[in-house]
Amino acid sequence: MKELRATLQHGRDLSGGNPGGDTMGERKVPRLDRKKKTMLTSVSTSPADTSPAPQGKGRGKRGLERPLQAHIGRQLQAVYNQVLEEKVPDRFIQLLRELEAKQDDKS
């Protein structure tokens, strides 16, 4: 188990900062059978895993990236649109009218 963990750790290090990391990790541990592979996933996502925080963060990010970025895009739009859709306050209509009146006086 200790040895397996070490190997897994290694595999995860590779997958951490690399988009093609999964295949690379598999190549590094070719003898893992299906059952152990399942363990790999469960070990790596287990809260008992005492891997340092940056690795945990990287791993979480990979899985969440797409839906999360889509969510961010929608929310950004929502923040902007909320104000965009408000009725123009009278003060601005008034202001532009005054500016126009001044303009007409001048000419």
Binding site: P47, G56, L76, V88, L95, L99
Partner: protein, 181 residues
């Protein structure tokens, strides 16, 4: 030239966009509207420097942005309490589902440095191109891109939910992120 008076007519129709941008910069409704007012007055006064055929909203955003940063430098300490005002404003408003999520997002957005938030809003919400945003911000396109990326990454980090059973490991990461930011 008859065209000279026309751009001014456009100002009123662009007020909503100006307000939306101003709000995303400063976060305070009253101040945002003061910024818009300043912008409209400046734009009106120097309308002759607007080049017909170019994007008027980009031109107005440039003026608004300059106003904001001039004031921002003057009253730097006033800025951080924007979140509270936003939250208060929100709770009196919509009661849809996802409102909490929206509030969380807002708080996260306003915790970003102004330059990143501005880049995110210009690109992600107002629909401008990177080139237009770069011209507005007076910086290279690459700088806008990196601000957008850093802003997105930071938001992703702030918004990533931590499952209850991961609290033990999630918390140090959260604190480390807060310390680094």
């Amino acid at each position: 030239m008859s065209g000279a008076a026309d751009p001014r007519q456009e100002l009123l129709t662009l007020v909503p966009k100006l307000r939306a941008f101003a709000m995303s910069l400063c976060g305070k409704p009253d101040r945002a509207d003061d910024l818009v007012q300043e912008t409209l007055m400046k734009a009106w006064a120097k309308m002759s420097s607007f080049q017909p055929g170019t994007s008027m909203i980009a031109w107005l955003y440039t003026i608004l942005r300059n106003e904001f940063y001039t004031e921002y430098r003057r009253h730097r300490r006033e800025v951080p309490d924007a979140d509270g005002v936003f939250a208060a404003r929100l709770t009196t408003r919509a009661t849809q589902d996802g409102q909490l999520e929206f509030q969380d997002f807002r708080a996260a957005l306003f915790s970003l440095p102004a330059d990143q938030r501005e880049a995110l809003v210009l690109i992600g919400a107002s629909g401008l191109s990177y080139e237009e945003a770069a011209r507005i911000c007076g910086c290279p396109v690459g700088t806008v891109k990196s601000r957008v990326n850093r802003g997105r990454a930071k938001l992703a980090e702030l918004l990533t939910p931590s499952a209850p059973d991961e609290k033990e490991t999630a918390q140090p990461a959260w604190r480390a992120a807060a310390a680094a930011g």
